[in-house]
Amino acid sequence: MEVARFWRTTGQRYQLTGEVCPNCGNKIFPPRDVCPACEHEAKTPYTFSGKGEVYSYSTIHAAPEGFEKYVPYTVALVRLEEGPLITAQLTDVDTKDVKVGMPVEMVTRVLREDGERGMLVYGYKFRPVLAGPR
């Protein structure tokens, strides 16, 4: 990943920061400055809770360059509790245990690295919700 592209999207990748539409209240991710529901300008930052559930998923056995070491791994469409559907890798879960409707939560993990000398790219993944306090 180019350093500049990485740097520009830090907020959305580290914190799940999108936008909220001031006109209709629609929550938007990734941020695009225009509400896809009502086409009103939407530039107000909104940080998502990171809670959601698996809407659909696919297990990857033939990985693209940079992700070979993770196979087999699962990529899911996650329905965030605020509405948007986003694509992300699942982590801390065995591929056989992934189910549609499974509650998941956002964690920040290493997405990939640009070789031995390049930068480490961090971003959101989702994992099964951890048990809360006793």
Partner: protein, 350 residues
């Protein structure tokens, strides 16, 4: 040396732990390198997943600390400090990654700390001074490691991953108050890793008496002298946990009982988390401590030194959904040595 105590009283406003999901049994390592004849120093150790490092683990522990610190917005953090001996980059701060992920940037002080296993508590001690002097209302001190041990070496049995984050703030809003601390350091070469080397070196049995035991007992005795407290005045005691034997032995030497030490003793389940070791022990104790309980925390870092703290519990903790330390300890998936080697990226894929 006088007891270190800031002008303004400060305490722990929030805290959080993190331990990865994977565990490797000592027996599995011993089977490979000693035909099963090794005397294992712990039952098992925690192993980070392929997508985990000190930055990602620090972020989760810090998010847990912020959840418990009701009403402290991330942009109120005057400092984000990460102590570790396994920072992901040789040059580039871990602390800015953590601060950015928390939403603490840009008006915050960010720094990485280094002192073998004492890197976390030195950040904690500095945070007490930073808040106690009035330079800021809140400072975040993290001790976190993904420790390395040479395959087959004694350290491979214990080198674990995990740690804890502490949000230090004014005593009025704290769940526990710092009563005072001392630091005790000497130039003792018991363990080191040279620049560009992958694995640390250690001086075998020399790591015991002149290093671990001398520094911890000296720091703890100084703290007891300066505060006028006795072991019986403490409900809990946490000592750096490089293996299952040392913390119990040093506690016994100082006059502490197993009942005081065991609630914070996690090393048998998660291994030695280096800069996180004594600090995550403290989080396990804070999860169960009651108002009025007094806690002793003594770290040890090779090279060498110890920081000792007396902490008094003030309030019952409101967790706001943050997992307890023992939740992370219980969340465990045993892996074999082949998977462990894969996670350590010992196999060439191309």
């Amino acid at each position: 040396m006088a007891l270190m105590k800031p002008v303004r009283s400060v305490g722990i406003v929030g805290y959080g732990a993190y331990v990865p999901r994977y565990r490797l049994a000592s027996a599995e390592i011993g089977e490979l390198w000693t035909d099963g004849n090794a005397i294992t120093p712990v039952k098992q150790k925690s192993v980070p997943g392929l997508d985990e490092d000190v930055a990602t683990m620090s972020i989760e522990a810090a998010r847990n600390a912020l959840r418990r610190a009701t009403g402290v917005a991330p942009d109120k953090l005057g400092a984000v400090w990460v102590g570790s001996e396994s920072h992901p980059y040789a040059v580039k701060p871990t602390s800015t990654i953590v601060a950015e992920a928390l939403g603490a940037t840009p008006h915050t002080q960010a720094a990485d700390w280094q002192f073998a296993c004492k890197a976390g508590t030195e950040a904690l001690q500095a945070a007490i001074g930073f808040v106690g002097s009035g330079m800021s209302d809140y400072a975040l001190a993290i001790g976190m490691d993904a420790a390395q041990g040479r395959p087959g070496d004694a350290l491979e049995y214990t080198a674990g991953a995990g740690g804890a984050a502490f949000l230090v703030g004014p005593a009025e809003s704290a769940i526990a108050e710092f009563e005072g601390s001392v630091s005790y350091v000497t130039d003792t070469p018991d363990f080191w890793r040279r620049q560009h080397e992958r694995f640390p070196e250690h001086s075998g049995r020399f790591t015991g008496e002149p290093a671990y035991f001398h520094h911890i007992t000296s720091a703890a005795r100084e703290l007891l002298d300066q505060t006028g407290l006795h072991p019986a005045d403490f409900r809990y005691a946490i000592f750096h946990q490089p293996n299952a034997k040392f913390p119990l032995k040093v506690g016994e030497d100082l006059g502490f009982t197993r009942a005081q030490i065991e609630p914070g003793l996690l090393v048998n389940e998660i291994g030695n988390t280096y800069a996180g070791s004594s600090m995550i022990g403290l989080t396990a104790v804070l999860d169960i401590a009651a108002p009025g309980d007094r806690i002793l925390l003594v770290s040890f870092g090779s090279g060498a030194g110890s920081d000792a703290f007396s902490i008094r519990m003030k309030e019952t903790v409101d967790h706001h959904g943050a997992p307890a330390t023992r939740d992370y300890v219980r969340r465990s998936l045993m892996i074999n040595y082949a998977t462990y080697s894969r996670f350590k990226e010992n196999y060439k894929l191309n």
